[in-house]
């Protein structure tokens, strides 16, 4: 759900010269792949996609026993480019590069790591910007609403195409963690371990409220054109930017914002106007603006709806422990103390349901200082936990 490289530590990792060659622990240059699926997909909303394509990347090698596959699920604004570089001129690696690579927690010397752009996304998988074969125009607002369960279905489809019957691990943070959770609930026999980071078993009213304001910002933009902005050769830039700015406020803790920006003024004095004055305003505008260039507004609407609808316990009368009943997947559940979007209490709801259902689970609450964005940070304690858990996975699965 958080931005790529939005924390100070991450930005320090941007290297000036030849980043690709410089890092021994990098997966290096990667080429995105595409899986074209010609069979219809029945979605949870009742609609059917006649055909679709999925963009994905892989790092490492699938072993002969096909027992070392790790699926990484991306969050709200992520995509399939999780690690490495697309070309030597790239300034930034994939969004979880600090975790995926030789010697890193998801060690590509041992594991075969797969990350896919979710259906409805704008990173190359079929989504609202794709051409609707029935009209010859972009889907736009006609693209069906997709759910976390639909993503699990399509991720499994990709896995089978790659020869993976069972994933050793499905891992993700935030909305990605929800996908890992849903995998365990709906496909327990096809996933040995789920790593669920900074997630929640369902959104709170406050979470949904934030999403609704973000959606309204997009919907109210005059350039939105009912979602058919591509046909009008424009983009709801202001709306998407506002949505992203709002999101960013929730990705950082108050303490992190205070220590990074305080009430610092860009010009050193108050200007008595509505221009950018405080550093935090400048930061948010920058985050918003750079997001607009790489993201699609209709996809943003879809992703927030997938979040809002996520509630795997609903099919079990709201009893999450019943949803976990009989689940053989083992869990690692991590949360961050300063995260107020999905605070540790939300992870405890998951842990409690798992212990009630007699499922195997390890859980840790990590200190962190950024807030929700901590799940993307290269923190030694956090990565130490992931590494230790992946050691366990290696002992069991490899």
């Amino acid at each position: 759900m958080a931005a790529r490289l939005s924390c100070p530590v991450a930005s320090k990792q941007r290297m000036s010269a030849s980043p690709v060659a410089a890092q021994e622990s990098s997966v290096g240059l990667v080429v995105p792949q595409t899986l074209v699926v010609d069979e219809p997909l029945a979605l949870q909303c009742g609609k059917v996609l006649p055909a679709y394509q999925l963009s994905y990347e892989t790092y490492g090698t699938l072993n002969a026993a096909r027992s070392n596959a790790v699926l990484i699920c991306h969050a709200l604004s992520g995509d399939h480019h999780a690690a490495g570089y697309h070309n030597t001129a790239d300034k930034r690696p994939g969004w979880w590069d600090n975790c995926i690579g030789p010697g890193k927690p998801f060690d590509t010397n041992r594991f075969f790591v797969v990350c896919m752009n979710n259906l409805g996304g704008c990173g190359g998988s079929t989504g609202p910007a794709a051409i609707n074969p029935q009209t010859g125009k972009p889907y736009g607002p006609d693209f069906p609403i997709v759910t976390v369960r639909d993503w699990v279905t399509t991720q499994q489809r990709l896995g089978l195409a790659l020869g993976i019957e069972r994933f050793a691990v499905v891992a993700g943070g935030s909305l990605g963690g929800m996908q890992a959770l849903d995998w365990a609930i709906s496909q327990s026999e096809h996933i040995a371990h789920a790593i669920v980071i900074a997630a929640a078993p369902k959104l709170s009213a406050q979470n949904i409220a934030f999403n609704e304001v973000a959606r309204q910002a997009i919907l109210a933009d005059p350039d939105f054109h009912g979602g058919r902005y591509a046909e009008h050769l424009t983009k709801p830039r202001r709306g998407l930017m506002l949505a992203r700015m709002l999101g960013h406020i929730t990705y950082l803790s108050e303490a992190a914002m205070r220590s990074r920006f305080g009430r610092e003024l860009r010009e050193g004095r108050i200007g008595f106007g509505f221009d950018v004055e405080f550093q935090v305003e400048s930061y948010l505008r920058h985050q918003g603006q750079s997001f607009v260039d790489r993201f699609d507004a209709n996809t943003y609407l879809l992703m927030t709806k997938a979040l809002d609808y996520f509630d795997p316990a609903a099919a079990f009368d709201g009893d999450l422990s019943r949803a976990f009943s009989g689940v053989t997947t083992r869990f690692l559940v991590l949360s961050f103390q300063r995260d107020w979007r999905f605070p540790p209490e939300r992870s405890w709801e998951i842990v409690k349901a798992l212990t009630d259902a007699d499922c195997r689970v390890c859980a840790m609450e990590l200190p962190g200082d950024l807030g929700h964005d901590d799940f993307l940070k290269a923190d030694p304690a956090y990565h130490g936990v992931l590494q230790a858990y992946m050691e366990r996975v290696a002992r069991i699965c490899l």
């Binding site: 083992r330 405890w348 842990v351 409690k352 212990t355 009630d356 007699d358 195997r360 689970v361 390890c362 859980a363 840790m364 609450e365 990590l366 304690a381 130490g384 936990v385 230790a388 858990y389 050691e391 366990r392 002992r395």
Partner: protein, 206 residues
């Protein structure tokens, strides 16, 4: 008796029925749970507040949940474990009695171990030297110890009796794995570490 284990853990491993469901409060590096699950098919969770210890437990294959037992066991349902075990932590928690009640709510039986402050060496240090006791079982000096609620065998048994807790079994041991008859005969003076298996008196009577 597994000699590689800490003496109190070695005795506990003989008390816990194979295949039972166990919650270990303050599980440390997970030694007990790792041993129990490997040797006797016990399953369950360890709660540990210290992240370093929790990581060690995780690496041993123990299902560890980082939690502060001083905040109670509210996350666990009544009678959801066969045993709730707490080794050498009773004297270090803020509310020992509350936690004892919690243990017997969540578990059908509780197993508690603690260093006995009535042990003769402790008495000598206190009476003869006028010093707070330091021993192999109580290695830290008074200002560095986490033991904020030191108690003796007699204190603990009074507490149990006053609150309807039945003592199913008691064993005294020392740091050298000895369980001499003299410790069992005069536990409050000759026993260094006390072990108890507990249950509500009402449950024990039925």
């Amino acid at each position: 008796m597994p000699i590689g284990l800490r003496p109190d853990l070695a005795i506990i491993s003989t008390w816990v029925r194979p295949g039972s469901r166990v919650l270990d409060l303050g599980c440390g590096d997970g030694t007990l749970l790792a041993y129990l699950s490997e040797q006797t098919g016990v399953r369950g969770y360890g709660l540990e507040i210290d992240p370093h210890q929790a990581l060690l437990a995780m690496s041993k294959g123990v299902d560890v949940i980082q939690a502060d037992i001083d905040e109670g066991l509210g996350g666990f349902a009544d009678d959801s474990f066969d045993y709730v075990i707490m080794t050498r932590a009773l004297q270090a928690v803020y509310h020992p009695l509350k936690l004892l009640f919690e243990m017997l709510r969540v578990g059908r039986q509780g197993i508690v171990t603690f260093p006995n402050y009535g042990y003769w060496r402790c008495r000598i240090q206190f009476v003869a030297k006028g010093r707070m006791p330091v021993s192999p079982a109580l290695p830290q000096p008074w200002h560095a110890t986490a033991n904020i609620h030191p108690c003796t065998v007699a204190d603990f048994e009074d507490l149990c009796s006053a609150h309807g807790v039945a003592i199913l079994e008691r064993r005294m041991v020392d740091e050298r794995h000895r369980q001499g008859w003299w410790m069992q005969w005069w536990p409050n003076v000759l026993g260094e570490i006390a072990l108890y298996r507990l249950q509500w008196r009402t449950a024990a009577g039925t």
